[in-house]
Symmetry: C2
């Protein structure tokens, strides 16, 4: 697949004839320099952006031709997304932000379920705080809890430990690992942190919009 932004003077080839696969039930890390196309790759894999040319197959179906309604359905049930800039709703509390995807999927959110996932990321005592009453790392953990609450088959996470100290990062990475091992979770995670990449089963390296290397962990 290829993804191009703009035209003329500000034309940028974000992804240049890239072919990658995120195997089901396994954890893939994506690394590469700033501006190399990592976020773009994740947005396309999650149906948030269209490709300029090429195919995007999810469970065998090409989602690039899917209708907006089909894509919304996909995003609400199959795919959980942790955005690089968190994308929390400023007027809602941590609890309401995490409950939102459940409401959007037409389910009645149970307080217990929402509180359980916030406690898992270490924020059980912050349910009623709004994003501006939380530190950067706390906001990021709310964003992680929100992506996991619908138990999506695929988790797409864009630098999910970027704002976390090493202890908080280890907690989050441990959670993800047990989801892969015990629950067959599929994960694609962008990261700049070698410790986070070391938790994955394979690592892809992007540079200037191309895949330049990949590594499989011996134990994977």
């Amino acid at each position: 697949m290829t993804r191009v932004y703009g035209s003329g003077g500000t034309r940028v080839v974000a992804l240049d004839d890239v072919t990658v696969a995120f195997p089901s039930g396994s954890w893939t890390a994506v690394m590469g320099p700033s501006g190399s196309g990592k976020s773009t790759l994740l947005h396309i894999a999650g149906g948030l952006e269209k490709v300029t040319s090429g195919q995007v197959l999810v469970d065998g179906q090409d989602i690039n031709d899917a209708s907006e309604a089909e894509l919304t359905g996909l995003r609400r049930t199959k795919v959980g997304f942790v955005f690089q800039n968190f994308n929390l709703l400023g007027s809602l509390t941590a609890e309401q932000n995490v409950a939102m995807p459940l409401k959007l999927a037409g389910r009645r959110p149970s307080r217990l379920e929402v509180q359980a996932v916030l406690t898992q990321v270490g924020l059980g005592d912050r349910l009623s705080h709004k994003p501006r009453e939380l530190s950067g790392g706390q906001q990021q953990r709310v964003a992680i809890a929100r992506a996991l609450v619908t138990k999506p088959t695929v988790l797409l996470a864009d630098e999910p430990t970027g704002a976390l100290d090493s202890n908080a990062a280890r907690t989050v990475l441990g959670m993800l690992r047990s989801m892969v091992n015990d629950g067959g979770q599929t994960i694609a995670m962008v990261t700049h942190d070698p410790m986070a990449a070391a938790s994955a089963d394979q690592v892809l390296f992007l540079s200037d919009g191309r895949v330049v290397d990949d590594m499989v962990r011996p134990s994977a």
Copy 2:
């Protein structure tokens, strides 16, 4: 100094009787778990927030009693700030965002000056891109360029390499080091990255709003 947020059920003591000094002409790193008070400390040092009790001395003057006009003057000329969430203006290009502090300080921004600092952070070819046309790491580097363009005596940087790959981070840290060594720059930098902390002259550790440790680099 002490800083408390909220009251009753959501009362949080962000900083608890903290005494720290950021020596002039030297580089201090601040580390600590997510939610330990690092950003709050930086906001107070830069006159962006008031303390609940205690003093904040900049060049011998307690800025906690300063008027809004005095604080604005301080922020426009003496202090450069790199925010944890970048705080770029979405409707402006990279070049316009970087020129903004010069305009606010009443100076006519020279294109050459603005382009030079953007080139220094590796974005000489992105002058006319708006924040949403830039990757996370590129946006962070625009925020760094914007904080440096007025050549402030004190730079307060909140996880300035958080969204950068290790090469881009090394470039930024190298720039800051030569500003300290050659220009007598004073820097206070929050970071979770041990490589970034290793570039500083001393490191403070915060936990639950208190200073729990500090380390001075042998060569400092």
